[in-house]
């Protein structure tokens, strides 16, 4: 019994040690995303709703089904649709806002991803490693834009998330993302973020005299989006939240995690202390039987 207890202690200590050896990769130790790097500037005033970005995305990324979509029923983002249009009826025609991952500088999805499948790329976008995805869907539920998509078995929960990759391999090789390359009107521009912020501001200044609601969306939001929009109307009209935020539970969760680690370490350390003290007390305490024997001996001695 004594030995097995010792073994148990050793094993527990080992397990806790292993837990502590893991480098703290999340939350407090997280390296922050760059506001610099590459970006895209989407100008809704130049979009003609041709859906070429949608087709080019599907084509380049080998995603199934490319039918020219109906603006009345635009295909929503899904694991097979990484880029789509958010069409808005204006007058007789349609104005569209290209919809895909906005590659936030402060990305809720990266913060909540438990496996590290989602991470910040040094070039400025939010990359993901599909092999690491556990299909938990936290990114789907925490993204302020509702971008990451996941379709899996509802019962087993097995699923893999998908979203726009910013055509990472193309960009890494000095090319534009497929959607930007395909855009015939210059509504999707790719370049250095600092330059695109400048360009976006100039474009808004040019629109302002005739349109007071013209604005650049994404230069400040969530630490700066890496997909920014020149809008000629309120963000909500184009399906964008006016004031996107990393949801509060993200921070609560970060705090809970480290409270958990701290409390677990404190509790186990408390056990160690308790064991030493309680064992000592038990060893020194006289057992009733021993007391009886001692008394008998004393009586005999007399």
């Amino acid at each position: 019994m004594e030995l097995s207890r010792k073994d148990f202690l050793k094993a527990s200590a080992g397990a806790v040690g292993l837990l502590l050896l893991q480098p703290p990769t999340l939350a407090l130790a997280k390296e922050s995303q760059t506001q610099e790097g590459v970006a895209m500037l989407v100008d809704v005033t130049k979009c003609v709703s041709c859906w070429w970005c949608y087709a080019a995305c599907k084509n380049y990324n080998n995603l199934p089904e490319t039918i020219k979509p109906d603006p009345e029923q635009p295909p929503p983002l899904s694991p097979d649709v990484w880029t789509t249009l958010h069409p808005v009826k204006k007058g007789d025609g349609w104005v569209s806002r290209k919809q895909a991952c906005n590659h936030c500088t402060d990305a809720a999805c990266v913060e909540v991803c438990p496996t590290g499948a989602l991470s910040y790329n040094e070039m400025g976008f939010v990359q993901y490693d599909k092999d690491k995805c556990s299909g938990c869907g936290y990114c789907v539920e925490f993204c302020p834009f509702g971008v990451p998509q996941l379709e899996g078995n509802k019962i087993t929960g097995v699923a893999v998330m998908d979203k726009c990759t910013f055509c990472q391999d193309r960009v890494a090789n000095g090319e534009q993302p497929a959607c930007a390359a395909a855009c015939p009107t210059g509504a999707i521009k790719f370049g250095k973020r600092t330059e695109l912020v400048q360009e976006g501001r100039e474009r808004v200044d040019a629109l302002r005299p005739s349109n007071a609601s013209a604005m650049l969306y994404g230069d400040k939001e969530l630490g700066g989006l890496h997909v920014m929009y020149v809008l000629d109307d309120a963000p909500e009209v184009y399906g964008l939240p006016a004031d996107p935020e990393v949801p509060a539970p993200v921070m609560v969760r970060d705090v809970l995690k480290w409270v958990g680690v701290g409390a677990a370490v404190a509790v186990v350390a408390g056990f160690g202390l308790n064991y030493i003290v309680a064992r000592e007390a038990k060893m020194t305490a006289e057992l009733p039987g021993e007391e009886y024997i001692r008394k008998r001996k004393d009586e005999k001695g007399k």
């Binding site: 019994m1 207890r5 148990f8 202690l9 837990l19 893991q22 480098p23 703290p24 990769t25 999340l26 939350a27 991803c113 438990p114 496996t115 590290g116 499948a117 092999d131 690491k132 995805c133 556990s134 299909g135 938990c136 869907g137 936290y138 539920e141 925490f142 509702g146 899996g152 509802k154 019962i155 087993t156 929960g157 097995v158 699923a159 893999v160 949801p247 539970p249 993200v250 609560v252 969760r253 809970l256 995690k257 480290w258 409270v259 958990g260 680690v261 409390a263 677990a264 509790v267 186990v268 056990f271 308790n274 064991y275 003290v277 309680a278 064992r279 007390a281 038990k282 305490a285």
Partner: protein, 215 residues
């Protein structure tokens, strides 16, 4: 006829229930903790652990239901016992530090079938069980119907339940298996019995009731 030297603390079916439930919960803890504690999430890659989590939860929820159907009386007694708190519990709390560290048994008031500390554990098991099941049910089956905000707080609820249950589980294992004075605790959950001596010193009030034949 010689009197037996042991008294029964738990029925065989309770012992079985305890260990099946324990196994299910340990699987849930391991497959859940990797999504909670920082830096170990890589173990969840591929989603297999999330599938195992769902299999384990069938037992975690199913076994208590089966137990309840077989033993409604004992189950109600367990719930009543868990929710009954009084002055005696304050007395226990006052005596506990010296008892668990120094082994001061004299100032520890005689305890019933479970002592106040065990009752705290039972309470955490019940309360977090409810939290776990509700938030988990929402996240599993109502994901598409829920607004993202509700889902997010379900994750937090699940986290809080985990934290409470996990920390108390550590205490439960330590006291049941390792603490120098709890020499027959593990045994009582193995064959359901403890020696009369152990019962007298650890659960004096209960032992007297048993000895008087009240139970």
């Amino acid at each position: 006829m010689t009197e037996p030297r042991v008294v029964e603390r738990f029925k065989k079916r309770t012992v079985w229930f305890h260990w099946i439930h324990t196994a299910a919960f340990l699987v849930l803890v391991v497959t859940g903790a990797i999504l909670f504690f920082p830096g170990i999430g890589g173990a969840a890659a591929g989603g297999l652990t999330r599938f195992i989590h769902r299999i384990a939860v069938v037992f975690f929820v199913g076994v208590p239901i089966v137990y309840f159907i077989i033993n409604p009386k004992m189950s109600f007694h367990f719930i009543k016992e868990t929710l009954t708190w009084g002055k005696g519990d304050m007395d226990w709390a006052q005596a506990a530090p010296l008892y668990y560290f120094g082994g001061d048994e004299e100032n520890m008031p005689p305890q019933g079938h479970v002592n106040t500390g065990q009752k705290m554990w039972q309470f955490v098991v019940l309360a977090t069980g409810v939290l776990f099941v509700i938030s988990g049910f929402f996240m599993w089956f109502l994901k598409d119907a829920l607004s993202p905000g509700v889902f997010q707080w379900c994750v937090i609820l699940h986290d809080i339940a985990f934290l409470l249950a996990f920390l108390m589980l550590l205490v439960h294992i330590y006291l049941g298996v390792i603490h120098p004075r709890m020499t027959e605790s593990l045994r009582s959950m193995w064959d359901g019995k403890v020696s009369k001596k152990y019962a007298r010193s650890h659960y004096g009030k209960w032992y007297d009731e048993v000895a008087e034949g009240k139970k």
